[in-house]
Structures are given as structure tokens and as C-alpha cells.
């Protein structure tokens, strides 16, 4: 058993020629071999040197031979399962399956003033409950929905957030590291009987792996969990402004991580993360919502299909808009469908509004319709005797014949259309009678229903809760000793 996600029924969208793909892949190999990567971790340097890399210990620069890189890529499973708390929510990454995941925001956003602030504990729980309920939301992002909630010290935010996700949902979850919290978080996941997926090997672009990232990766491997390789190139700032060059560099950063992981533990389950954006040349921030992101992702999905490693796309959620509005809709919708068409295995979508600054459960509910529509599209059209309905067409014939009263219509229409759950689909007079409700009004109503009706599919046992509490106490003591909690 596992979540089905959506299955793309037709060949993926490809925008690069075979020659283009080869050129970019060769450039990536060249970067790894000639320029190399700085890896600020002694044990990693030794491991790489032992495996034929050229290591300069002074500059911490590692140059990787092509053969090793290709061998390590081959060792990555092209499909693999990750374990959720409820087996019904396990995920199987790879192939033509597309999953949708949530996107974090530091704060909750007010839907009238669009100001943002730290969420309360109740708001945090409600946002988790919404994401647990939404049909097409398959897994949680690392620190979704918010970075934390009121009253929680900075260093405990990720741990306490993880516990909320585990308590109020049985869906699979991502996880990030900060301030050496990995030991506590992994132990909590183990107690809950689940795995977590962490973009532990997070490169700092260009071409640098910090000591902390490598430590996090090695710890993930030690626990036997799947591991994400990640980087956040900004085209025109930490990478070339040209997409071809940015692709080559971005992939070199990710593959350097893969080499290290596969040398540490061959055949580890690796998931390709990544947070590519062009530079916003006005503000200096990443250029969220730029169509260049989608162009980059579509090309990269094609390249990674060649490498045979599952990957996620992020462009679909980071909008420039601070509101739920037209700009937000186009900046998330267009990249999301392009990612789904071009073979992303997971698409970052639910709840995030501006960058990683704001998140809203109302946005999540709206995104469930967006995911549903995209998923419906990529599942394509069924063509067989029954769907062709030739006998029926002969039977109905010309006017006054019609199809509305036919069993075939009754049985098929819901499968062939996607019915939005919170979209306004009324006629004009009906809309006026309804009080002129829009999709946000409907989403608010749906949220109320979700909160009042929610049940977790598998509750934590009393023993599990107690064990988790013990780990939390240990974490607090650890941070008090470090001076992070007063």
C-alpha cells in the first residue's frame, strides 16, 4: 500500500534536444573534474581521496573523476519507497508518478491586511490538520506549515513542528536540520515508526558543501533514512545568468553530494531537491515566480530522467505576490503544470505564498484544487470501446436525442471532469444569490468543516507520546547547556 499520487499517462514534455542534454551533462562532469567542489569536512575529504578524487587539503577542494561520478549516479535507486506513519501514506518516488507536497512559510498571513506574524499553537495545529485532510496533498515539507509557533524557542521550532505533524497527521514528512537537532528529530521519527526525508546534503552555491551539511548527511545515512541532495542556485548571482550554464553548475553541486553519499553508503536512496531561481535584479532576492524557473525545471527534469534519480520541483510555489490573487495564481499554476508535464516526481505547492515567508491553510485548500486539476490533466484521456461510446452515439442519434439521461453519462462524467471543491462554478444569478462568494469564501467554509470533522487515521500510542516527551526534555536540556534556551 502507498499513496497513488497521479500517474502521467503520456510521454513527458521535453524541451532539450539529445545533443543539448549531452552537452549539459558533459559540462557538469567537467566542472566536477576541473574546477571541483569545496567540501569543508575532513572525513569526507579522506573518503573522497581514497576513492580516486584529487583532494587539496589546504583549500578543501575536491576534483572528481568522471568514472566515479557516473558510477555513483548509477548506484542511486531510480524508484524507492519511503515509510509514513500509516502505510497507506507511504510514497513510492520515481517512474511516472507525480506527488504534491506542501510548502512552508515562516509566518501565518492575515487574509485581510496581508500582514504576517508568528502562528499560535492552535493555528499551527489547524494548518497541519488541513494538510492532513486534503486529498491530493501527499507529504509535508520540512518545516511545514510554519517555521514554529508562539512560545517555542528558535532552536526547538523544527522539533516541535515535527511532533505536531506526527501527532495530527499520518502523512509522510520532510525534515530539515538546524543547530544539531538531527539526533532528536531522527529519534522522534523512529519512535513514531516512520521515516523522514531530509535535504541534508544542502550545497551552498556555488560549489561548496559545508561541514554542517556533510555531518547532517552522514547522520541521516547512519539512521538508514532516505536522503535529499539540495542546492539553491541563483542565476546571475551564485550561478551563470544563462540557464544552460546554471543547469550544469546546479547539477554539479547536487552530484557532488550524491558521490559523497554513495561512497559513504552505496545504493542509498537519494532524492534530488533543489531550489533554483533567477536573481531578482531589482531587490537582490531570489526571483520567485519567474517563468525562467519553470524553463529550468522542465529542462532539468529531462536531464535527471537520464541520470535515473527521482526529483522534486519547487518553482510552483514561491510567488512574488504577498496575497492570494491573480499574480499568485499564475506564478504557482503555470510552473506546477509544466513540472507535472515534464516528469517531476514531486511538486512543491500547498500553502506557501511569498517565498518562504508566509503560509496559509486557505491557500492550501485552494492548492488542492490546483493539484487536482493538474493531476487530472496528466492522467490523460482513456480511449477504449466504453469511452468511445460508439454504440451510445448510434443509439442517441440527432436531436431530440441527448446524453444527460443515460447511465453511461451517470457512470462516467465524474471520472472525466475534475470538479473543483472550492472554485466558484455558479452562473451569474446563482452567484449573486449566494452572496457573491468567491473561492476564498468557499475555502474558509471548507476549512471550518475540516477542523470540526478531522480524525487522525492512526493515533500515537500513549507510550509513543511519552517517549517523544522524554526526547523533547533531552533536547531542551541540550540547548539550555549550549545557552540557546535561557
Amino acid at each position: 500500500m502507498a499513496r497513488k499520487g497521479f500517474k502521467r499517462k503520456f510521454p513527458p514534455l521535453e524541451i532539450l534536444s539529445r545533443e543539448d542534454v549531452e552537452q549539459i551533462k558533459m559540462a557538469t562532469l567537467d566542472i566536477l573534474k576541473e574546477t571541483g567542489v569545496v567540501i569543508e569536512h575532513k572525513d569526507a575529504l579522506k573518503l573522497l581521496e581514497k576513492n580516486d578524487c584529487i583532494v587539496d587539503y589546504d583549500s578543501k577542494r575536491v576534483r572528481m573523476p568522471e568514472g566515479l561520478v557516473e558510477e555513483c549516479l548509477r548506484k542511486c535507486p531510480s524508484t524507492f519507497r519511503v515509510k509514513a506513519r500509516d502505510p497507506e501514506n507511504d510514497l513510492i518516488f520515481g517512474g511516472n508518478t507525480v506527488y504534491f507536497k506542501s510548502s512552508p512559510g515562516m509566518d501565518i498571513v492575515d487574509l485581510d491586511s496581508w500582514a504576517h506574524r508568528t502562528a499560535t499553537e492552535k493555528e499551527y495545529e489547524e494548518a497541519v490538520i488541513v494538510l492532513d485532510t486534503l486529498e491530493h496533498h501527499d507529504w509535508f515539507s520540512c518545516y511545514t506549515p510554519y517555521f514554529g509557533y508562539e512560545g517555542v524557542p528558535e532552536v526547538m521550532k523544527m522539533t516541535m513542528g515535527l511532533i505536531k505533524r506526527i501527532k495530527y497527521s499520518t502523512k509522510f514528512t520532510g525534515l530539515c536540520f538546524t543547530n544539531y537537532n538531527w539526533e532528536f528529530n531522527f529519534r522522534i521519527a523512529k519512535v513514531a515508526g516512520m521515516e523522514v526525508l531530509c535535504p541534508a546534503l544542502m550545497a551552498s552555491s556555488p560549489l561548496t558543501l559545508s561541514e554542517f551539511a556533510v555531518d547532517a548527511a552522514f547522520k541521516t545515512i547512519e539512521y538508514g533514512f532516505p536522503i535529499g541532495v539540495d542546492t539553491g542556485s541563483v542565476f546571475g548571482a551564485t550561478a551563470p545568468a544563462t540557464l544552460a550554464g546554471a543547469l550544469a553548475l546546479f547539477n554539479a553541486e547536487l552530484i557532488a553530494g550524491i558521490v559523497l553519499i554513495q561512497l559513504k553508503k552505496p545504493y542509498s536512496r537519494v532524492f534530488v531537491w533543489g531550489f533554483p531561481n533567477p536573481q531578482n535584479m531589482v531587490t537582490g532576492a531570489p526571483g520567485f515566480g519567474n517563468i525562467a524557473n519553470a524553463l529550468f525545471n522542465v529542462a532539468n527534469n529531462q536531464i535527471w530522467r537520464d541520470y535515473g534519480v527521482p526529483l522534486r520541483n519547487t518553482a510552483s510555489v514561491y510567488t512574488n505576490s504577498k496575497k492570494i490573487d491573480f499574480q499568485n495564481g499564475i506564478e504557482r499554476g503555470m510552473p506546477a503544470i509544466l513540472s507535472a508535464l515534464s516528469g517531476a516526481h514531486s511538486i512543491h505547492l500547498y500553502g506557501g505564498i511569498y517565498g518562504e515567508i508566509t503560509h496559509s491553510p486557505i491557500q492550501s485548500i485552494l492548492d488542492d484544487d490546483l493539484a487536482g486539476m493538474i493531476g487530472h490533466f496528466i492522467q490523460g484521456i482513456n480511449v477504449n470501446d466504453e469511452t468511445l461510446a460508439l454504440d451510445l452515439i448510434h443509439e442517441v442519434g440527432p436531436i431530440p436525442g441527448h446524453f444527460l439521461n443515460k447511465r453511461h453519462t451517470y457512470e462516467w462524467w465524474k471520472k472525466e471532469q475534475y470538479m473543483q471543491k472550492v472554485g466558484d462554478i455558479l452562473t451569474y444569478p446563482e452567484w449573486e444569490q449566494s452572496g457573491k462568494k468567491d473561492c476564498i469564501d468557499y475555502a474558509k467554509e471548507r476549512m471550518k468543516r475540516i477542523i470540526s470533522e478531522h480524525e487522525v487515521s492512526v493515533n500515537l500510542t500513549k507510550e509513543q507520546e511519552e517517549e517523544i516527551n522524554v526526547i523533547v526534555k533531552e533536547a531542551e536540556a541540550f540547548y539550555k547547556k549550549r545557552g540557546d534556551i535561557k
Partner: protein, 215 residues
């Protein structure tokens, strides 16, 4: 002749034409023009680029290219200023760095470049800098301003630690502290006891000028 040379220098600066700037600076030096007057041309040209940016006509790469071009032209002039014992006008001294745990330094570099191009004397202590390094730099250089960057939400609290450490050694009150970076907010800056925060590099320059009473 001097006016024509300065006009050509200004135009070359605005074309980000390093080669021409180099030649024109050599001509100016050979013509025994006061190097401080040449510096003024650079400063005025940078101000023009800054105005273009504020109007939305120019973009970050323009600011960076202008700063790079200015750096090329300023190199021989700096030497002359030192050799002749002259004193360059400066708005003040700034120590800048990215805090410990964070090796992202593009944003910090943009701010440092723009501060420098706008007449500040900038001491860049790099990325992944622990409190000790900030304290050492403040003690050594006695700056007007300390600027700290952190991209990640996970490293942002480190800015607060640096401020605490500065308090502990009794030098916090001697400097203005400005913070920035992707994860920083105005509220966060207030919470950790910084004197100011701005979300973008050009605004950071304005804030620095305000701190030294030049806005």
C-alpha cells in the same frame, strides 16, 4: 581640457567601460590632476547609477558593474592618494561579515560593494564568521558601523549572539549595528537589539548614511 577629460571619464563610468576608465585615469594622473578631484568624478558617476536604480531604470548588475569599473579606476588613484599623503573623503568605516554557520555571502558582497562604491571604508571579514572574529575586527578597526548578514533562518539567531558578545566585552555602545539577509525581518532585528535593518542592498547604503549623519 580637464573638464573634457572628466566628462569622458563620467561617460566611460556610465558605460561600465573599464578599459577606457583605465586610460582616462592614466591621462588624468599624467596631467597632474588632483587625485581627489578624480575621486569626485567617480563618486558623482556612482550617484548617477544609484539614481537610475532608484528610478527603476537600472538594475543590480548595473550597480555591480559600475562598482567594479570604479574599483578598476580607483586602484592607481588610491596609490597616489597614499603616496601624496592626501586624505580621501569617507562617510565612515564599516566592518561587515556573514555570521557563523552561514557560508552564503553573495548578499553580503553586494552590500559591501555598494557601501564601498558609495564612499564608505569597508572591512569585509568574510562568511561563516564567529563572534570572536567580529569582536576582533571591531577592536582592530574601530568602525562606525558593524553590518551582519545571515541568509538562513537557522543562522539568523547567530546575529543576536554576536550582539550579546559585543555587550559582554563592553564595545556594543561604541558602534551602530545593522543586520540583513534573506531570513531577517525588522521585528527580528529589534528583538536581537540591532540598530537597524533593511531588506535590500541599496536601502542598506541609505541606512548606513543615516547612521553616520549623511542622509
Amino acid at each position: 581640457m580637464k573638464e573634457q577629460l572628466f566628462e569622458n571619464l563620467r561617460k566611460s563610468m556610465l558605460d561600465y567601460d573599464e578599459k577606457s576608465v583605465n586610460i582616462l585615469v592614466s591621462d588624468a594622473i599624467n596631467s597632474k590632476i588632483n587625485p581627489l578631484e578624480i575621486v569626485d568624478v567617480f563618486t558623482q558617476s556612482m550617484a548617477e547609477v544609484g539614481d537610475g536604480f532608484e528610478k527603476g531604470e537600472l538594475f543590480l548588475p548595473d550597480l555591480m558593474m559600475a562598482a567594479e569599473t570604479m574599483n578598476v579606476g580607483m586602484a592607481p588613484i588610491e596609490k597616489m592618494i597614499i603616496r601624496n599623503g592626501l586624505k580621501k573623503k569617507t562617510y565612515g568605516k564599516i566592518v561587515i561579515g556573514t555570521v557563523f554557520g552561514d557560508i552564503h555571502d553573495i548578499g553580503k558582497n553586494i552590500v559591501a560593494t555598494l557601501l564601498s562604491a558609495n564612499g564608505f571604508d569597508v572591512i569585509d571579514i568574510g562568511a561563516n564568521a564567529k563572534s570572536d572574529r567580529f569582536i576582533e575586527a571591531v577592536k582592530q578597526h574601530n568602525p562606525n558601523i558593524l553590518a551582519m548578514s545571515a541568509l538562513l533562518t537557522t543562522t539568523a539567531p547567530e546575529q543576536g549572539r554576536v550582539i550579546m558578545a559585543l555587550k559582554e566585552v563592553g564595545i556594543r555602545s561604541k558602534i551602530k549595528i545593522m543586520v540583513g539577509g534573506g531570513s531577517i525581518t525588522r521585528e527580528f532585528a529589534q528583538k536581537i537589539g540591532a540598530d537597524g535593518y533593511e531588506p535590500t542592498a541599496p536601502l542598506a547604503v541609505k541606512l548606513a548614511k543615516k547612521f553616520v549623519g549623511k542622509s
